[in-house]
């Protein structure tokens, strides 16, 4: 019978059912000297050594996991700290100046384009420009 398709939960459920069935049938009385026999055997050096070895193995495994996680976290923090240091203050200032020049240049070009367009509109719709709430001539003259 192949039980490889069963996972731990399935096997636990089956074991629990086995226990429940044994209890419902009524438990046999284990020999009175069985407990002493088991405890006596558990105190023997080979048994104690095996148990301690397994406990140590478990602790070492957990320690290994902890060290790997700590190393990964430390590497991440170091990487984050290193990246901003490559961007010098001078470069940031330069970029800022360039951005301001681009904005003023754009504004200047927009003005140069907008004035001839407005004059054409003014010529074509003479009445509308007179009644317009926005007087571009005043703005141009001010500039």
């Amino acid at each position: 019978m192949d039980n490889s398709h069963l996972n731990d939960l399935d096997l636990d459920a089956f074991a629990q059912a086995l226990a429940d069935a044994a209890e419902s049938r009524g438990l046999l009385q284990a020999p009175a000297n069985l407990k002493e026999s088991i405890l006596e055997r558990s105190r023997q050096p080979d048994m104690v050594l095996q148990a301690q070895s397994n406990r140590l193995s478990r602790k070492l495994t957990l320690l290994g996991y902890g060290l790997r996680v700590a190393a990964a976290a430390a590497a991440s923090v170091a990487f984050i700290l290193m990246v901003p240091a490559a961007d010098s203050g001078f470069q940031r200032e330069e970029l800022k100046q360039q951005a301001l020049e681009d904005i003023s240049d754009l504004t200047r070009r927009r003005r140069q384009t907008a004035v001839p367009v407005y004059r054409r509109i003014q010529d074509a719709f003479g009445v509308l420009s007179r009644d317009s709430i926005f007087n571009l001539e005043e703005w141009i003259d001010d500039k």
């Binding site: 019978m1 096997l11 636990d12 459920a13 089956f14 074991a15 629990q16 059912a17 086995l18 226990a19 429940d20 069935a21 044994a22 209890e23 419902s24 049938r25 009524g26 438990l27 046999l28 009385q29 284990a30 020999p31 009175a32 000297n33 069985l34 407990k35 002493e36 026999s37 088991i38 405890l39 006596e40 055997r41 558990s42 105190r43 048994m47 095996q50 148990a51 397994n54 406990r55 193995s57 478990r58």
Partner: protein, 174 residues
């Protein structure tokens, strides 16, 4: 929260579950000596591996160990008296066999006594004290004044002789 020491934990497990584990092992092997050995192996295995136990369901965990030990025993000697598929029926079946169970236990006890009486001294006394009267080695040593190691050896030898007697009777009875 104080963690229980492994030795104390083992003792607690034995107090709580020895009858359950013994019952399961006897049900699967139908041999009281093997059931005792397998029960002992179950608890010792749990003791060795308690570091890997997550503490979720100790009853199920111990029963799994016991069932695996019994299956290994049955497989090792080619004794497929209880095919694994029937474990499902063992797990699901229930019966009202209380009076029959008590009678069977008494009969088993009587049979054990008769087999012990067939042994020669000093194995007869060791077998009666240990298997029939269920005394511990320490109690036997106090009673007889003998070395516990000597008594232990006699008990092991008596167990082997009793097993042979039981098997002969099984063959004779069919």
């Amino acid at each position: 929260m104080r963690r229980t020491s492994p030795d104390k934990q083992l003792e607690l497990w034995i107090d709580r579950y020895q009858n359950l584990i013994y019952s399961i092992c006897f049900q699967m092997t139908r041999d009281s000596f093997e059931a005792q050995d397998l029960t002992q192996e179950t608890f010792l295995s749990a003791y060795r591996r308690c570091a890997f136990f997550d503490g979720a369901n100790e009853k199920a965990w111990l029963c799994r160990i016991a069932a695996n030990k019994c299956l290994d025993y049955l497989k090792a000697a080619g004794r497929r008296q209880i095919p694994t598929e029937e474990l499902f029926f063992l797990a699901s079946g229930k019966s009202d066999e209380e009076p029959e169970r008590q009678y069977t236990q008494q009969e088993t006890k009587q049979e054990l006594y008769q087999c012990c009486m067939k042994l020669k001294p000093p194995y007869r006394d060791a077998a009666l004290d240990y298997f029939y009267r269920e005394m511990t080695i320490r109690e036997m040593a106090e009673k007889t004044g003998e070395n516990p190691k000597t008594l232990q050896t006699r008990v092991y030898r008596a167990r082997a002789l009793l097993r042979n007697l039981y098997r002969k009777e099984d063959l004779l009875n069919g």
